[in-house]
């Protein structure tokens, strides 16, 4: 499946691939929960974080994942420096490739960068997010978190709410969860989605009641404050009132609903503080934990298959 090829989008993975990555991720989580959080599986392998867009937590999550598998990790951050030197993204990546890494973890502001780089590189790629396209490991950790709670994905009502148009998380969620049989609802202001999103298999709604009623899972997306300047919503106050998740709306959902968020959260904007901190429903920090596990699994399936990941 993904062995040797990497994971550049859930669009390209089959149902079995996704299930296998999730299954392995649960074993990886067991490792992370021990006092000695390290297995020698990828000893001697080099993982390169190639980040063309700034990110702290995703990079840290990948770095921890690689280190827990005993791989060597190198971080290259090119947020703006390489372009200012006039080097192309392809040349930058080829230069690092000449140092013989085993896998690249790539984040970049341009949708489709993974497809471009894979035409020019031999090294497998794992996407850490490309433009407004996909963030496959976020989609996988969302699936893992739901599986963990609900023991299934098939038939669940999953609401993804917020700026769908610019969200790589929403796209990976629908590609992944759709394949596993979830009923996905996109809830968004009409300025942050188009009706064409139904072509991905989601139901598009602008009605909070329709979206949240009987939901099993609610995933609130982060609202970028600069979208207000772009005219996509008039004020944070109105956004919170019309499209945010608060205690009242949460009551529409199933009693055992779980609330997720890719972070960082804007308290009082897309998510009220009381919902964010609601121990019974919020699984936001569990997502962060699962993120490391899923990334361990993703790296393992890309370059480590055949190696045991138990202690020896």
């Amino acid at each position: 499946m993904v062995s040797g090829k990497g994971i550049i989008g859930l669009k390209y993975l089959g149902k079995n691939d996704i299930e296998q990555i999730i299954e392995t991720a649960f074993s990886m989580r067991d490792i992370s929960r021990r006092s000695v959080k390290k297995v020698p599986t990828l000893r001697g392998k080099t993982v390169v974080n190639l980040f063309f867009e700034s990110s702290t937590r995703t990079k840290t999550s990948f770095e921890l994942a690689a280190k827990r598998l005993s791989a060597d990790v190198v971080n290259f951050s090119y947020a703006s420096s390489s372009t200012s030197k006039g080097e192309t993204t392809i040349d930058t990546a080829k230069n690092i490739e000449a140092m013989n890494p085993d896998v690249f973890i790539v984040r970049h502001a341009s949708s489709g960068i993974m497809e471009l780089l894979s035409r020019h590189l031999k090294t497998p790629l794992i996407s850490a997010g490309d433009g407004t396209n996909e963030h496959p490991t976020q989609g996988l950790l969302d699936i893992m978190t739901i599986r963990d709670e609900k023991k299934r994905i098939d038939g669940l009502k999953v609401v993804v709410a917020g700026d769908i148009y610019h969200s790589r998380v929403a796209r990976s969620d629908i590609y992944g969860m759709g394949k596993l049989g979830a009923k996905v609802y996109f809830f968004s202001p009409p300025t942050m989605i188009t009706p064409d999103y139904e072509s991905l298999g989601a139901r598009v709604t602008y009605d909070a009641k329709e979206a949240f009623t009987d939901a099993d899972v609610i995933i609130m997306l982060r609202i970028q404050l600069e979208r207000q300047a772009a005219g996509l919503f008039p004020s944070t106050r109105e956004y919170a009132r019309a499209f945010g998740l608060n205690d009242q709306r949460l009551k529409l959902a199933k009693p055992d609903v779980i609330v997720m968020h890719p972070g960082p959260i804007n308290r009082g904007l897309e998510l009220s503080s009381s919902v964010a901190d609601n121990q019974e429903h919020s699984r936001i920090l569990r997502q962060v934990e699962n993120g490391v596990s899923v990334r361990m699994s993703a790296i393992y399936h890309t370059i480590g298959e055949g190696h045991e990941y138990t202690d020896n």
Binding site: I90, G112, E115, D196, L200
Partner: protein
């Protein structure tokens, strides 16, 4: 030199002709269609019975269409300034190889063609070293900056056949109105690239299902149609000639239909790209399918075909836009817009005839007679006696496969590489000079 083209199917919408016959050319002028009883053929030479001294080179056009030389009124030849993409020699040679005897070059060169020195340079270089005839289009505004008018009278004296800020719209409605008023005595058209930039600026491809799948910000169809509507209203008020470039959406054609019904002086063109492909061609982040306006949905492509068939569209152009490899093999959002189109245009356009969208006579009208008329090219677009000896020979049937590496254009940026096509131009005669075309 005299040339007698025999055994071909002569297609000339300017005379409403579509029949077998022989066409006689003397030096740089078409003499006319001649009766077989009036000449004898010995080997590769023909002798006119009326004048035994008049020997003609014989071209056997069996199975071919003999049509007035094709005219592409929308190309980018990149010279001066971007000669690594294309220059006047390679561009006019690619034109000839694609079946075009005349091309009109857009002014977005570096510097912009907004003064007679640049126009004069282009014409002189084409005359001395070029292949197809070159007719420059000058900028509407100085530097195509959209603020002050160019010296249009000077530019027309120097040989410019139209004005346009193509690549960019004339964003200011006020400047568009003044430009249309100003050119009225000249009889030339203003060619606008209709685009409402506030609607298109954050997009990279057509907004639709394909853009949703790829996570690329979309350009809505209204970005074009809003500008088309505005342009038409200004043309109606000024009564000056407006030509709308590369229309791509259903609503744009509906607006043009309406304008023509009211007698507003508007003409429009479509590109081979927009009737050959839809936005699925962008799949896999194919930057060779990135252009402006973007490839649209299949419904819009069907609207282009309908508008070609019902007469709403006046002409077919390539919008030939050669770019360097490094300008396309980059991030999708950073890739430059455009397709190198001169050498695939005839093959793609013949599909319209093979698939019975339009007749062959209508095709010749769209690719020769009509564009010649729009930019006032004298003695072109016709096989009438006295017309310039610009002829294209088209083999409508032979199958071939597009190979970008065999282009004579420097631009290899095409999404049609590897595509099988049926028919192509196999010979062009420009000003009485014969050019055989490369075959793949």
């Amino acid at each position: 030199m005299n040339i007698l083209i025999i055994n071909g199917l002569l297609i000339d919408p300017s005379q409403d002709i579509e029949r077998a016959g022989a066409l006689l050319i003397e030096d740089t002028t078409i003499t006319g269609i001649v009766d077989p009883a009036l000449y004898t053929i010995q080997g590769e030479t023909a002798y006119l019975k009326s004048d035994k001294d008049k020997r003609c080179t014989v071209i056997d056009a069996s199975g071919m269409w003999v049509v007035p030389g094709l005219v592409d009124m929308h190309v980018h030849l990149r010279d001066p300034g971007y000669e690594y993409k294309e220059d006047i020699v390679s561009g006019t040679r690619a034109a000839m190889n694609g079946g075009f005897t005349s091309v009109c070059a857009m002014p977005n060169t570096r510097p912009v063609n907004d003064n007679k020195a640049i126009t004069g340079y282009m014409i002189a270089k084409a005359r001395e070293t070029g292949f197809a005839h070159l007719f420059p289009i000058a900028a509407v505004s100085k530097g195509s900056q959209g603020t002050e008018l160019s010296e249009v009278y000077d530019l027309v004296d120097a040989g410019a056949v139209a004005i346009s800020d193509d690549g960019l719209p004339v964003s200011s409605a006020d400047l568009l109105r003044k430009a249309l008023l100003y050119i009225k005595p000249l009889g030339i058209p203003l060619i606008d690239h209709p685009e409402e930039v506030s609607l298109s600026k954050s997009g990279y491809m057509n907004e639709g299902i394909a853009s949703v799948k790829m996570g690329l910000n979309g350009i809505p169809q209204s970005a074009e149609s809003v500008a088309v509507a505005r342009d038409i209203m200004i043309a109606a008020e000024t009564g000056s000639r407006l030509h709308l470039a590369h229309l791509s959406t259903r609503s744009s054609f509906e607006l043009v239909r309406w304008a023509k019904k009211l007698g507003i002086p508007v003409t429009c063109e479509v590109t081979t790209n927009h009737f050959s492909l839809n936005d699925d061609a962008v799949d896999g982040y194919n930057t060779n399918a990135k252009l402006n306006p973007p490839l649209r949905s299949e419904q819009d492509r069907q609207a282009v075909l309908e508008a070609l068939a019902d007469g709403t569209v006046d002409c077919i152009v390539t919008d030939h836009a050669p770019h360097g490899y490094d300008e396309k093999e980059v991030e999708f959002d950073k890739a430059l817009n455009g397709i190198s189109g001169l050498e695939t245009s005839v093959g793609l356009s013949l599909k319209l005839v093979h698939e019975r969208v339009i007749s062959r006579k209508r095709l010749v009208q769209l690719m020769s007679q009509a564009p010649s008329a729009i930019v006032n090219l004298k003695n072109k677009g016709s096989l009438k006696a006295g017309a310039d000896a610009d002829i294209t020979l088209i083999d409508p049937e032979t199958a071939w496969v597009v190979d970008k590496n065999k282009f004579l254009s420097k631009g290899r940026n095409t999404p049609f590489h590897g595509m099988g096509l049926k028919g192509r131009a196999i010979m062009t005669i420009a000003g009485g000079t014969i050019h055989g075309n490369t075959r793949t």
